[in-house]
């Protein structure tokens, strides 16, 4: 993974910088994919900005993926894969969350498709999304205990 100053030249990054300089915590380019690291509190305002700004138009949310880096802290990682259909550009937003407070604001008001993606992450990682209209388990049974995709979830023996 490389962090180079020329990532700042990327038009998307430059536009975000001019909107709010401290919204970006870091930039990573790996195998031609741009990842923008954000502090948790900036995710929702930035999501609104990325979707609404006509010159960016990241109107399509492909996917939201959780990763558990246990035992490293901050433990959880959320990856938002965004697509701008009009400009044919894809970026990834990444937010890291501490294991003791896995809470983040829901992006459902910006991208309604996040509804099920966030429910899935809640179901499998136990990350809570504030402002989600219907935060219930989606794949596992409603009365299931534990979060199967966490790395400290036992894969055999009693749970």
């Amino acid at each position: 993974m490389t962090e180079t100053p020329d990532l700042e030249q990327n038009p998307t990054v430059a536009r975000i910088r001019s909107w709010k300089p401290d919204a970006i915590e870091g930039l990573v380019s790996f195998r031609g994919e741009l990842t923008i690291l954000l502090p948790r509190e900036h995710l929702f305002p930035l999501a609104e900005f990325l979707a609404a700004a006509p010159e960016l138009a990241f109107t399509y949310l492909s996917d939201v993926t959780g990763v558990d880096r246990f035992p490293v802290e901050p433990r959880f990682e959320l990856n938002y894969h965004l697509l701008s259909l009009s400009r044919r550009e894809a970026i990834r937003l990444r937010v890291r969350l501490q294991g003791d407070s896995p809470v983040i604001e829901s992006v459902v008001p910006v991208w309604p498709t996040a509804n099920w993606h966030e429910r899935e992450i809640f179901d499998l990682f136990g990350i809570r999304f504030e402002g989600h209209p219907n935060l219930r388990r989606i794949l596992m049974p409603d009365d299931w205990e534990g979060y199967p995709l966490r790395k400290d979830y036992p894969v055999e023996g009693p749970r």
Binding site: M1, F30, R31, E33, T35, T59, Y60, L61, S62, D63, T65, V67, D68, N79, H81, L85, R88, A90, R92, W111, P112, T113, N115, W116, H117, R137, I138, L139, M140, P141, P148, L149, V155
Partner: protein, 398 residues
């Protein structure tokens, strides 16, 4: 069936449980329908009945072993799943795949698209009362499955694409089989169109049914033919070409009516476009050349070399005992599966097993749009709307 109390007084609506065991839900989908007479007031979609923890399983397998479980997600298009996963790992490893393997991959995934659309057409038609189309579609699909069996040894769980190329050299005579399909299938598709495209019952059941506007479709993350039936031309093959798709000449069918009929027309046109790609691929594929990348330690060595070179034997042993370790990092690879944008996210921590593998299943996002399509409509249209989304519960629940 339960009668519920509503805010305005005694029972006016009724909650009907549709599925998970219901033939027209295409698997184990459950929809809770709140009905006012024949009108759907509210639809609550419930999934998870087929959850098998495939993503968790992948974390315990090596990169090569995990290919086999990708087949089992979208079981109607196993090769598209193989492709998404292999391309993601190859991106992580920065592997260069020989052109011959790339073209064979394109050819087979396009045949997969046709086979998958045939199943969709047959089941969608039988849901709406057209019995014979179903039988014809499955007959033609069998011919395609025979090709998959010929190259990989399996009709459905192919696992034919491997990291770095293909599993085996395709057998002698396989191109003749493909040629035969290319000759017969266009006329067969004409036959299906004769049965349906201007059929008055078909028109009545699909036109103006399952409406989904372009704005709603984008907001709900819908992709594939379901999105293109709403007038958005997003196709990963054109937007972010992979596996040499940029070298092929094909159109992306788009319709603007936003209804089930538009999506039907899109898929039928897509089958013809896929056959065009297959035809071009057949001409492009060199008769000789490597089908695997030159990457010792990642791609298993040839049998001959293992008998004569010690290094090859060591590599073979290492690949199959501990696997290979890509550099740490994350990649997201999207491909156009028959259902839409199929994404494979892999987070590597530098060990021989994927630290996290996530599949962005197109059906998962597409199914979210169902609520919007059926609320306020008739209960009979729910069947048409589920069918038109072309869902596979295997990849939704994973």
């Amino acid at each position: 069936m339960t009668i519920v109390q509503t805010a305005t007084g005694p029972a006016q609506t009724m909650v009907l449980n549709m599925g998970p065991q219901h033939p027209s839900t295409h698997g184990v989908l459950r929809v809770l329908l709140e009905l006012d007479g024949e009108n759907v007031v509210k639809a609550d979609v419930d999934i998870g009945y087929l959850h098998t923890g495939i993503e968790k399983t992948a974390e315990a397998l090596t990169y090569s072993q995990a290919i086999t479980i990708t087949d089992r997600m979208d079981y109607l298009a196993p090769l598209s799943n193989n492709l998404a996963y292999c391309l993601a790992v190859e991106k992580l490893l920065e592997l260069e795949i020989p052109k011959r393997a790339q073209y064979i991959r394109v050819l087979l995934t396009e045949l997969t698209r046709v086979a998958s659309h045939l199943v969709w057409l047959g089941t969608h038609a039988i849901d709406l009362g057209a019995m014979s189309v179903f039988l014809y579609c499955f007959r033609e699909r069998e011919g395609l499955l025979n090709i998959f069996e010929m190259v990989s040894g399996q009709r459905m769980m192919t696992s034919y694409f491997r990291i770095g190329g293909l599993a085996l050299e395709p057998p002698i005579g396989w191109t003749d089989r493909v040629q035969k399909v290319l000759q017969s299938l266009p006329a067969r598709i004409d036959e299906y169109e004769d049965l349906l495209t201007k059929n008055r019952i078909w028109l009545a059941r699909t036109q103006g049914v399952g409406m989904l506007s372009a704005a709603d479709a984008i907001a709900m993350g819908v992709s594939g033919p379901s999105l293109r039936g709403s007038g958005v031309d997003y196709d990963v093959r054109k937007y972010f070409p992979y596996s040499s798709y940029e070298e092929f000449d094909f159109q992306v069918p788009v319709r603007t009516e936003c209804d089930c009929y538009a999506r039907y027309m899109c898929r039928v046109a897509e089958m013809r476009e896929s056959l065009k790609i297959v035809k071009q691929a057949l001409e492009k594929i060199p008769s000789e050349g490597p089908i695997k990348a030159d990457a010792p330690g990642i791609v298993p060595p040839q049998r001959e070399k293992m008998k004569t070179e010690m290094e090859a034997l060591i590599y073979h042993f290492k690949i199959f005992t501990e696997g290979f370790a890509p550099p740490p990092g994350e990649v997201y690879q999207r491909v156009e599966s028959p259902r839409g944008e199929l994404g494979c996210f892999i987070a590597s921590d530098g060990s021989p097993k994927p630290y996290r593998m996530k599949i962005r299943a197109p059906s998962f996002a597409n199914l979210q749009a169902l609520q919007k399509m059926v609320e306020g409509r008739l209960i009979a249209d729910v069947i048409a709307s589920i069918g038109t989304l072309d869902i596979v519960l295997g990849e939704i629940d994973r």
